[in-house]
């Protein structure tokens, strides 16, 4: 069986961990600056007062004037989600996360361990913890498991067998099927509002009218393919963070600090010579929010310039001054072989000598003795505000 564990409104729940009092008040996750002003997940109290996720900000505030907007905290959400995935992995489930708050896993391997499907799913829910209100669905197909988890109540397990799959999916709302909003609106105009209604249409007619996206949705409405779930490769989790004595907004300074972080991170012994495939940059912002961007490199590398080029430009998207910058190696390659260069790059030899010299200084004077100076505000009239020193123990 394929199981789906779902925590609706995960980003909001993660952001509310810092201010738990808001969980009982009408609150909604505020939109990200620069995107369409629509509300994210909402609390039960906000829903009771008529506010719905996806509602336009103005409409939400008009419906419920006392609505509290909770700032997005993607780094906290990502961290909390990673903790949940690790708890599931520790319990024996090879997880395949689809998005933050939604994870799939195959139960076949652990059913015997826990004495059946339901005890295994119960174990998964316990591993996540009741505070998150997780719910689980299981079916032979991925989409059916997701639909079952969507229908289940908090803490409930819903198992759908293949025989009653069509009957189970038929009355569910069309919103459960992932598709372009334009296509969904088109189907609504045609009077198709339930999964069963879409599944009942001829496949060729759906493909002709709605294109490949509609055809895919039609396939899902009929249960979807019985694809296997592959467990993820646990992340490398090599993290390097830099705290600033005061909030930094200058992009040039942030780029320099980012460069120092990349160099330090690549030199970490835990990397064991492996290449970087995926890395993530996050920041703790002044005022309590956070920001996170990740990049998957087309060719795994350890080249400083390539990594800088992949993530550096994203620093321009920071919405507020930064108190802490954090870089993590999310995924590393298995191999550590490297094609040697025919001709060494200019300055390469000097770089190696400099590194060796610094290593010797560190060995004789101890950790924290080698620092890099990063200019923060060279124009400042206050001398100590002009530059920072960043410890280099690489």
């Amino acid at each position: 069986m394929i199981a789906c564990l779902l925590i609706p409104g995960f980003e909001l729940r993660a952001a509310l961990r810092k201010q738990p009092g808001l969980a009982l008040r009408p609150a909604a996750l505020s939109p990200v600056a620069g995107t369409e002003p629509v509300l994210g997940p909402v609390t039960a109290e906000a829903e009771r007062l008529g506010v719905r996720p996806g509602m336009r900000l103005g409409e939400g505030l008009a419906t419920c004037p006392e609505l509290v907007l909770v700032e997005q905290d993607p780094a906290a959400a990502e961290q909390a989600w990673e903790e949940i995935l690790r708890a599931l992995e520790d319990t024996g489930f090879a997880v395949d996360p689809a998005a933050v708050g939604c994870v799939y896993f195959e139960t076949r391997g652990v059913e015997r361990l826990y004495g059946g499907l339901e005890p295994a799913l119960r174990r998964a829910l316990t591993a996540v913890g009741t505070a998150w209100d997780p719910r689980a669905g299981a079916a032979q197909r991925r989409f059916a498991a997701l639909a079952a988890a969507n229908v289940a109540r908090p803490g409930q397990i819903l198992v759908v067998s293949d025989e009653r799959l069509r009957d189970f999916l038929a009355p569910l709302p069309l919103e459960l099927v992932p598709m372009e909003p334009r296509r969904r609106a088109e189907l609504h105009e045609l009077g198709v509002k339930r999964v069963g209604q879409l599944a009942g249409l001829p496949g060729s007619a759906v493909a002709e009218r709605l294109g490949p996206d509609g055809r895919r949705a039609w396939g899902l409405a009929r249960g979807g393919k019985a694809a296997r779930v592959r467990g993820r490769r646990p992340p490398a989790e090599i993290v390097e963070a830099l705290q600033f004595p005061e909030a930094i907004a200058n992009e040039l300074t942030l780029r320099r600090a980012f460069g120092a972080l990349v160099e330090t991170l690549l030199a970490r012994p835990e990397r064991k010579g492996r290449f970087v495939r995926k890395l993530a940059l996050s920041a703790r912002l002044v005022g309590g929010g956070s920001w996170r961007r990740s990049a998957t490199l087309r060719d795994p590398t350890t080249e400083l310039d390539r990594i800088k080029a992949a993530l550096g430009p994203k620093l321009a998207e920071l919405p507020a001054p930064v108190l802490e910058l954090r870089l993590e190696l999310v995924e590393l390659t298995e191999h550590d072989g490297q094609q040697l260069e025919l001709l060494p790059t200019a300055g390469g030899e000097l770089n190696v000598r400099l590194r060796e010299g610094l290593r010797q200084v560190r060995a004789s004077t101890g950790s924290g003795s080698v620092n890099q100076v990063v200019e923060v505000a060279p124009w400042s009239r206050i001398p100590e505000a002009r530059a920072l020193f960043v410890p280099r123990d690489d």
């Binding site: 992995e89 993290v239 963070a241 705290q243 100076v373 009239r381 100590e384």
Partner: protein, 92 residues
């Protein structure tokens, strides 16, 4: 069971370069320093004021002096008007 690769998180704190250091300064009535860290001031080479960040909760108001000490050392000292204390500082 799924094996973890293990996590390795390191948080480093960036420090301020040229942070002020507390100094023992004897000054005249007009505020010019006479002795800095028990060394007599031979010459006051320059004097200037820095007033900044008055719009924040941590305003900066300093009276700087560049002096030559008895030992021949060049030093920069300032009186923090907010805290009423003396400091030496490099890089000023």
């Amino acid at each position: 069971m799924v094996a973890h690769s293990g996590s390795a998180r390191v948080v480093r704190a960036a420090g301020r370069l040229n942070a002020p250091r507390a100094a023992v300064v004897e000054a005249r009535v007009d505020g010019t320093p006479v002795r800095v860290n028990r060394l007599a001031v031979e010459v006051v080479r320059e004097e200037w004021r820095v007033v900044d960040r008055w719009w924040t909760e941590e305003p900066v108001s300093r009276r700087y002096f560049e002096v030559v000490l008895q030992s021949g050392e060049n030093a920069v000292v300032f009186r923090d008007e907010e805290k009423a204390c003396w400091f030496t500082q490099r890089g000023a």
